[in-house]
Symmetry: C4
């Protein structure tokens, strides 16, 4: 008979592997330079999260080098210091029980919108699908306390978007799973770039709000394979 | 003696392999993010097409995971749901018997032109070669019924271009073979980018219509190796 | 004792290998899309050149698939049709005995300058080093006769630059060896991109003509390892 | 008992390996074209440095092909001529005993700012973290004597930034270790690109000087793993 502790150990192990592996998507899509972005995942049913260690090369990340923290950001298990963004991730998990994964990047085009403090307007069907409208801008917030986490949660409360541009900083995305949050980070940069380029030579045409709603509803319901959310496998 | 069914099975198998493999070109040329683009191929002599499954990672695509549909978009063979763009592909095959392959992407620069609803002007000899003139813009169309397919077919009817920019959405390309359609998608993004960049610092020079015609005629006739269309092997 | 024919065979074999392999640089630096660029090399001491076959994928190029032509562009050896740009390469070899390699691409930023018919101003020390001044623009020329070759040779006659932007078309570069010409194609796109980006937000500062001369003189004499031109091995 | 000479030999060997390997970061982040950038490392406790050979392909660099020079730039050990930027590296080591690594690139966006002679304003938290303020511009300086080295040292004297944009030329970065200098080169291009893109569509918001100071202080103290500077392993 498997004990509760053995089951937890196994769950943590599995999330360590998923979170470590997902960082390869950040580098493959060139969302990060050097060690500047991170992925975390909630341990379901526990007040625990798994997060990238601070300042370790993406090429050197392994399941074992991930750090397990409680939802106040204290290290529970792991030989490394956790990401310097741990407090922000933890805040999100404490205040959004629906969130199972958080991603942070300084991806180029999204960060450029963030540097101007400008939301990305929903002028692409792909944006309507994934974000359900504009990608909003959160406040300028100093790293190291709850400011960033609070900025993320308060800004996203008013939007369907799983991505928020933190002013002068970068992007945070959330998802039901770590993989969903990574997908949102990839798509956020993709649409940030396309809308930027569209704007360079004129004004993108708008999409009617009712069409944005219909696109979002359809995509959230019927895209992908039945019986799984996109990316939960 | 090989039966008719055995021959069809073999043909379908071969198109499954071709269509699955061609998706690697979409990622190599960075035309797609996450799972957002798709390739299909007609089964010659049958009212059938082979298309990418919905929401499956490019790295995981195999011949076996491709989906066979009839030309109304109903699944005939395959364990996955087909691409959410299946109706659009099917519409094209029904109305354009000359088309053997269809590709859809949200490639960055082409989608930026599409977001502004602006055709790409033919100011490069490479555009004259491949597209025979401007790359036109189709209407805004909701996904899920025949709107996109009809928009593609009606827009391309008036042009030599195998590519159409669907407003606020992305690109659809057609070809005699799936590989030709992929080539058109690659070249569409390439010229969309070059003409965008040319326009950023001024106005590209025009090419006389008669020269566009001559370039197009020559390229369609003499480019590549004798006895094959470009891209059939 | 090695016969003259055996020596020629060996020389041609070696140039086939060099020319085939150099195409990997065009793809690595993303100077080409699909099959749209080509490298050739002169067979020293003979009125012969080795060039890429037309419309064959870069991934499939081998020494054996290269085509040997005379300097009128007629095929002398090889199972494929030569590049559709063969006439232009051949013209350059006929009129510039100092040239041992020619490269053609539609690389993005250089082609954008070409689409506007605008020379790239020498505002970077790297441009002074490699090009000794501006990269000039040649005329609009139809493919298929001597127009392109003549445009290249006449334009480069008045410049130190080994690269010329052919109007509305793309880039041709020359070099003492095929590798030198490839280097010029790589550097041409690199400076075309940097100067474009510099121009997007203002006006680049000029470099005094006397400093351009000094930079060019030094780089051509002392860069690299003694006893070889940059790129001969 | 290990002699002094054996220890030095071992130290030099180790720095040869580190310096050779770090060039792979320049190509992975696409900071360099052809052979145009270089990394060097000081041999601690000796008036020696290890630097890239001139004009050798990045793919061919090995620990053995690195060149050991004294701090006047004279070759002490090695079969190749050292980088043509050796005098600049040597000048920095002579005048900045705190510097253990120097990197030079012509990375695209940073060089574009350099071509306009414009400092990169600190409008991103990532810039405050790594550079502690603007990235400054140094003078136009001819290669081949002490002009470049002097320009680097004099410009950086007034800034916290480990990167300087040399006018019409490119970037030099310094660090406690060669790896720190490479990190600075990677981050310099990353922020040069993001701020450029932010500026294309408007004016980035400023970050208060006091917040820049706080971000810099925190990052320099607490980022990464305890007991190592970021980048020493």
């Amino acid at each position: 008979m498997r004990t509760y502790e053995a089951a937890l150990t196994e769950t943590v192990r599995s999330i360590r592997e998923v979170v470590a592996a997902l960082h390869a998507q950040l580098t493959a899509y060139r969302l990060v330079a050097w060690t500047a972005g991170n992925v975390s995942g909630r341990v379901p049913g526990h007040d625990l999260m798994v997060i990238k260690p601070s300042g370790v090369d993406y090429a050197d990340l392994t399941a074992d080098s991930m750090v397990v923290c409680d939802l106040d950001g204290n290290v529970v298990e792991g030989g490394y210091s956790p990401s310097s963004d741990t407090a922000a991730h933890a805040y999100v998990y404490r205040h959004r029980p629906d969130v199972g994964g958080v991603v942070h990047t300084h991806s180029t085009y999204a960060s450029a919108w963030a540097a101007r403090g400008e939301a990305i307007p929903c002028v692409l069907t792909a944006m309507a699908d994934e974000f359900g409208g504009d990608i909003p801008v959160g406040p300028f917030a100093m790293i190291g306390d709850d400011s960033i986490g609070r900025g993320i949660v308060e800004t996203l409360a008013g939007h369907r978007s799983p991505a928020v541009l933190m002013r002068n900083h970068g992007v945070f995305t959330i998802g039901a799973t770590p993989r969903d949050a990574v997908k949102a980070a990839v798509m956020c940069e993709d649409v940030a770039r396309t809308v930027h380029i569209a704007r360079q030579l004129g004004t993108p045409l708008t999409i009617d709000a009712v069409d944005v709603d219909r696109l979002y509803a359809r995509y959230q319901k019927v895209y992908g394979q039945p019986g799984r959310t996109d990316g939960t496998e």
